[in-house]
């Protein structure tokens, strides 16, 4: 995405750390991610699920 799009796509408001991680990775346009979940990072997984 262009820098203008990236700036206008920034989220704001109240969110958990896992969602903030996912939002940064979305803005960075990362490719496929690989992992196996556990309780500690499940808010991150939850944010990925809702972004798909």
């Amino acid at each position: 995405m262009s820098e203008t799009d990236r700036a206008s796509n920034r989220p704001s408001g109240r969110m958990n750390g896992g969602r903030a991680m996912a939002e940064m990775l979305r803005l960075a346009e990362v490719g496929p991610m690989f992992g196996m979940g556990g309780f500690q990072l499940l808010p991150f997984y939850d944010a990925l699920a809702s972004s798909a």
Binding site: R10, P11, S12, R14, N16, A20, M36, G38
Partner: protein, 532 residues
């Protein structure tokens, strides 16, 4: 955004690492608290040693209860610290975006590398009121190299003067050329100045292997490159650490030959071989500067080195002639050289061959030919772990969905990773996995043959039918016992883009003939070295 469940976090790190190699963008993986985090170690060390940008997340304990024997708790940050370029521990939910931006910057700046982002449970689950400004990212840090630094101008002038005087200069290229994307700059310099190019396993694809100035692999295994290094009067080393395999355990090159070392990590210069001129900087930038400095006299240089340049295709043809008995072998079990020849024939220019550590990588490193410059051969030479083939193939296939991707792995390496065939199938990847089946831990068995007079201990595997295993897992599976079956098997694998194909190739079980150099019956074992 896509996220894939993997069956072993080591594979997740390998897949992320291979994705990064194909795209130059950071690969991303994660592991949960404890075993999930510690399983990342091998893949992260590969990334560290190969200079690959990777961002790995690890979940950690809730800080309200840390160090009270929480389940799966360990000193995971200390375990992972030497496996990465930097550990970033996130202590506040509010700082998550800032520290992720930092992770990208570290992963892609200077010599790229892996970053561990350790996230305690309460930080991940806790909430904060963020502003849009909190999510600022520096776009230059989203791919490697984030920025480029040019070598000192006076050093470039000294190096250019040295190259200009050389009658038989040679360029030795390592994996740094890929990170720098310096292909055009290298080809321009090599062609303008008539300087042949040799490569390490990681550097394969620096220029096309079929280019008339390509002299192939140098170091532990070589076609004609080592002889040319011995006869060279000036060496330009680019993006290469000159480690054990590249130098035949530090025997090559001779210290008397003046060496120019162009390298992004300053402290690698002079670590193994003292350079006559050190060029600290980005490979592409340095090669461009050298080409510019030498441009004026390029016509004269080409004329003076015309015979030298003409030698290369002639010598390569002679080598091919000498190797033809192996390359064209119709013997059963299949000769590894014949398998490499069939890979050369079957794989189109845009394909990617992922080569597992162990001898699958050495054979293809020596005999596989890339048809164009670029990342078309991906060996895990950072750490040379076996097992990289399948997960590396998964990462490469996701990074280049249009390109045929073939992963070549030994049976021992494939045994490590069999569970990931489920991942590849679930992801719907039309990946081809060539299993070099010698029913052995081949490299170890070959060493036991050569050095321990055939006293084999714990180097034999049970004969397995990997094609049948693949079919039982819902993938395509082909068993190849005759080399004439290879073209059809490879074509079928490359064509099937809906599911993985496993080609189980039965190769020699004779430990005297497992390694690529020569027939090991005539091997010379030198004290303090190991046989090739």
């Amino acid at each position: 955004m896509s996220h894939f469940l993997i069956n072993d976090e080591r594979c997740g790190a390998f897949a992320a690492e291979a994705y990064a190699r194909v795209t130059n963008r950071p690969g991303v993986c994660d592991g949960t608290l404890g075993p999930g985090a510690t399983n990342l170690v091998t893949g992260l060390v590969e990334a560290l040693n190969a200079g690959t940008p990777v961002i790995a997340f690890a979940g950690d304990t809730n800080r309200s209860h840390s160090w009270k024997n929480m389940t799966q708790e360990s000193r995971q940050v200390e375990i992972l610290r030497p496996a990465v370029k930097e550990v970033i521990r996130v202590e506040q939910t509010a700082r998550v975006p800032e520290l992720l931006a930092r992770a990208f910057a570290v992963a892609t700046s200077g010599r790229a590398g892996p970053v561990l982002v350790d996230v305690p449970e309460d930080v991940c689950h806790g909430s904060h009121d963020f502003t849009a400004e909190d999510f600022a990212l520096d776009p230059t840090t989203l791919q490697a190299p984030a920025r480029r630094i040019r070598p000192d101008r006076a050093d470039v002038a000294r190096a250019a003067a040295m190259l200009a005087q050389a009658k038989r200069p040679l360029i030795l290229v390592g994996g740094g050329i890929h990170w720098s994307q310096g292909y055009q700059a290298l080809l321009k310099l090599a062609e303008a100045q008539a300087i042949p190019v040799a490569h390490t396993m990681s550097g394969k694809g620096a220029i096309p292997c079929i280019h008339p100035l390509s002299v192939g692999l140098f170091g532990r295994y070589s076609r004609i490159a080592n002889e040319l290094i011995e006869a060279a009067d000036c060496l330009l080393v680019v993006g290469c650490k000159l480690g054990e395999i590249a130098t035949k355990r530090y025997q090559l090159p001779a210290r008397s030959v003046p060496l120019i070392h162009l390298e992004i990590l300053a402290e690698e210069i002079g670590r193994c071989f003292p350079p006559a001129v050190a060029l600290w900087g980005d490979a592409r930038a340095g090669l461009e500067d050298l080409a510019d400095a030498l441009a004026e006299d390029a016509r004269t240089a080409r004329a003076q080195r015309a015979d030298y340049a003409a030698e290369i295709p002639r010598r390569m043809a002679a080598w091919r002639e000498e190797a033809s008995a192996r390359l064209d072998s119709s013997e059963r079990p299949v000769h590894m050289a014949r398998l490499c020849r069939e890979l050369n024939r079957a794989l189109p220019a845009d394909s990617i061959l992922v080569a597992d550590g162990g001898f699958a990588g050495h054979w293809t490193g020596l005999l596989y030919d890339t048809k164009t410059a670029g990342r078309h051969f991906i060996p895990d030479r950072g750490f040379a772990s076996i097992g990289y083939g399948l997960p590396g193939g998964i990462g490469a296939a996701l990074a280049a969905p249009a390109a045929p991707v073939v992963a070549i792995t030994g049976d021992a390496g494939f045994n490590m990773m069999l569970g990931e065939l489920e991942t590849a199938r679930r992801a719907g990847l039309g990946l081809t996995i060539v299993v070099v089946n010698n029913a052995a831990s081949g490299y170890v068995k070959a060493l036991q043959y050569a050095v321990f007079r055939g006293r084999y201990q714990s180097s034999d595997l049970v004969e397995m039918d990997y094609a049948a295993i693949a079919r039982a897992m819902g993938c395509a599976g082909v068993r190849v016992e005759d080399p004439d079956q290879l073209p059809a098997a490879l074509a079928a694998g490359i064509t099937d883009r809906s599911r993985p194909t496993v080609i189980d190739v039965i190769v020699t079980r004779d430990p005297a003939r497992m390694l690529p150099a020569v027939d090991n019956r005539t091997i010379e074992v030198r004290e303090g070295d190991r046989p090739a």
